[in-house]
């Protein structure tokens, strides 16, 4: 099975809540997964299940836990806000 690289970027102070040491917003959390892996499995395998209640985006669009990744991608995970 072919591997792909997922870069998970955390915002809204999530990195502090998850107590990820030395988190760097420029590099994010790098996760290697099999091609075709669903988002819910990516966050479960990386031990970040607590994130499942938050909002995920990739390629400028909102994605959900069932989204499958066929190629390397950057995913942003945030708490939602309400407008300015």
């Amino acid at each position: 099975m072919e591997d792909i690289i997922i870069t998970l970027k955390l915002y809204s102070g999530l990195e502090k809540e998850l107590k990820i040491p030395d988190y760097n917003v420029n590099s994010g959390v790098i996760i290697k997964v099999n091609k075709g892996t669903k988002l819910k499995n990516i966050i479960a395998d990386s031990g970040l299940q607590k994130l499942s209640g938050y909002a995920f985006f990739s390629g400028g669009e909102r994605i959900n836990l069932r989204t499958k990744f066929m190629e390397s991608a950057e995913i942003s995970c945030l708490k939602i806000s309400g407008g300015g």
Partner: protein, 623 residues
């Protein structure tokens, strides 16, 4: 201290030409039909102002109304509304504002104020329970908004003030109340045109009591619990202010970048709320009373300053490709002191940068560089050099120099910091918003991108959703309370909190109009009913919102607004962005047709006679 139970219903009508004032008692029927705040302010101008008047002439009026909740201690009720005819757009503009002025006016025994005429010398008004004093403002002329407030607040509880931009008739000059603003559409220029530097109110003369104290306390507790339990109000807003939107909009493709040519940028996190909270060690600096606490201040280069709001960061930061939070704070500070709307200032400077790049306009401004921006902002406020043109906004500049396709404005009002190519419903919302490209008329992007309850790239159900949001926001602005209460008051109700997300999404995408009828919006009318003592149900509350929305449209149509004006800039309709996974065009015409249908407008966007009758909007009363 004297007490007012419910509301005083008394409005001061001030004539600056004659230096006189009278008292207007709001008819009970109008209070019921329009509630207060924006609704009543708009109705009072509808009855008093002829269409076609010069916004900077003697005949234009400013109506301020505090709403019935202010002074009662209801959560997030430290707001008041003001309405006038905008010199920037030539149509009605309405603003909601925090700061101490509203509370001072209300506790001086007045629900509102109408200012008309023009003084022949600079004056400021001092309001107390006896009425109005006309005070000489020659010494204040030329002072910035904050210094002016300091000077005149010595014997009062709060003040409204314009800065040099208002005095010099910059078309997007605003009016300060503390560090909050009547921001959009140039209300500061209207005050300046009347030689009215400021209005101060004594305050603390009356205590405001709800008619039904028990019912009020119950509703207040429920409201406070909702706010404190909601992730948006007690999480993102409270921790990072409205700037929490930067990273979210960057991730969701909504962030304006380089005059709306892109929706994301790799450096956006540098100007985010999270970054600023840490870098500037922020603390709360909010409206009073406020339970959400979205306003923050921080230590910026040794100075305690208000942290720029998201719209400022979007329009004066990423949209200019400037990712230095200190520079953005400097721009914000100049606009604060001069009294200028940061959204229109940022949008107009972005147009100038692009026009300069294309050789249409001569300036030293360029994307990605903060050099010269502070100087240009000061020149705008003082109408000097290129500032003379830029003070007229991007619509004027693009007509004069070319580049109308990249002047990002609707009906003359520059667009707020959400690119609608990432949320099609927001495109409709901008196109039909009464005051122009406003983000506070309907926040479609919230449902489409933040909550993900609607397909952001579909036209389906968007018309019904935008209509619903316009109605509820107009009603909230007429109570009056903060529109940010919409998140806790709606999302914390049983149906929204416990319904399975796929069910909500299915309902919202297929039949938003029906789904919205099941949303529990009872908390707002409960608060109003408890204060006034009259029953107001959810349907009647939403009906008020629709009435206010359509009344404003009727007034705008009398100024010549129709379908031709309900559009978006060419760039947003015809240019694709690199950040999008595929090329998509906003299906505006389809959404517009449906919107006119659900609103009861004809195909040209004019409210039908039966719509106006059904909403009990009467013919102009010529008071």
């Amino acid at each position: 201290m004297q007490e007012i139970t419910g509301t005083s219903n008394r409005i001061l009508e001030v004539n600056l030409t004659k230096k006189s004032f009278s008292v207007y008692e709001v008819p009970k029927e109008d209070l019921k039909l329009y509630l207060g705040g924006k609704g009543l302010a708009l109705k009072m101008l509808y009855d008093r102002m002829e269409p076609g008047i010069d916004p900077l002439g003697e005949d234009n009026m400013i109506a301020i109304h505090t709403g019935v909740l202010l002074g009662t201690g209801a959560p997030c009720s430290g707001r008041f509304a003001a309405v006038t005819k905008s010199p920037l757009t030539g149509i009605m503009t309405s603003c909601s504002c925090g700061g101490a002025f509203g509370m001072a006016l209300k506790t001086s025994g007045w629900d509102g104020l109408i200012v008309k005429g023009k003084s022949n010398t600079p004056v400021y008004l001092y309001v107390d329970s006896k009425g109005v004093e006309f005070r000489d403002a020659k010494k204040l002329w030329g002072m910035d908004t904050q210094k002016t407030q300091e000077e005149i607040s010595k014997d009062s509880g709060g003040a409204l003030a314009i800065g040099p931009a208002g005095e010099n008739l910059v078309l997007y000059a605003n009016v300060a109340s503390g560090h909050r603003f009547l921001g959009r559409g140039g209300m500061g220029a209207v005050m300046g045109s009347k030689n009215l530097k400021a209005i101060s109110a004594k305050g603390k003369e009356f205590k405001i009591l709800p008619v039904n104290q028990k019912k009020f306390e119950k509703a207040k507790k429920k409201a406070t619990d909702y706010i404190n339990g909601n992730d948006i109000s007690a999480g993102s807003y409270r921790n990072f202010g409205t700037n929490a939107n930067v990273n979210l909009n960057n991730a969701g493709g909504l962030l304006p970048v380089r005059n709306f040519t892109g929706g994301t940028h790799g450096e956006a996190h540098k100007i985010s709320g999270e970054e600023m909270a840490e870098k500037f060690k922020t603390s709360y600096s909010t409206c009073k009373p406020c339970t959400i606490l979205c306003g923050h201040k921080g230590n910026i280069n040794g100075q305690m300053r208000q942290i720029p709001e998201y719209e400022t960061v979007g329009l004066m930061g990423s949209n200019l490709e400037i990712f230095d939070p200190v520079k953005i704070s400097d721009f914000n500070e100049i606009c604060t002191l001069m009294g200028m709307d940061t959204i229109t200032a940022g949008g107009t400077i972005a147009w100038a940068m692009e026009a300069t790049e294309r050789g249409l306009f001569k300036s030293d401004l360029k994307f990605g560089s903060a050099d010269g921006v502070c100087e240009v902002l000061k020149d705008i406020a003082h109408m000097k050099g290129i500032g003379k043109d830029l003070a007229m906004g991007s619509r004027y500049c693009s007509k004069k120099y070319g580049g109308e396709d990249f002047a990002i404005q609707v009906k003359g009002l520059e667009m707020a910091a959400y690119d609608p190519r990432g949320a099609f419903g927001q495109g409709l919302s901008y196109a039909v918003a009464n005051r122009g490209a406003c983000h506070l008329s309907a926040t479609a992007f919230g449902l489409e991108v933040y909550l993900g309850l609607m397909d952001a790239y579909s036209y389906r159900s968007k018309a019904s959703m935008v209509k619903y949001q316009e109605d509820i926001y107009s009603a909230i602005n007429s109570l009056q309370t903060c529109v940010f209460t919409v998140f806790p008051y709606e999302l914390e109700t049983l149906l929204m909190k416990y319904s399975p997300r796929p069910v909500l999404k299915f309902m919202m995408n297929l039949m938003a109009g029906v789904a919205m009828r099941f949303v529990d919006v009872s908390l707002w009318p409960e608060l109003w009913s408890a204060v006034i003592g009259n029953r107001l149900g959810m349907t009647a509350f939403l009906r008020v919102g629709a009435r206010v929305q359509v009344l404003e449209r009727v007034m705008n149509c009398a100024e010549g607004i129709s379908r031709k004006d309900d559009t978006l800039p060419d760039r947003l309709l015809n240019e694709f962005r690199k950040c999008d996974s595929k090329e998509r065009a906003i299906p505006l015409e389809k959404m517009l047709n449906r919107y006119y249908f659900v609103r009861g407008f004809d195909k040209n966007g004019i409210p039908k006679e039966r719509t106006v009758r059904r909403l009990k909007i009467k013919k102009r009363m010529a008071v």
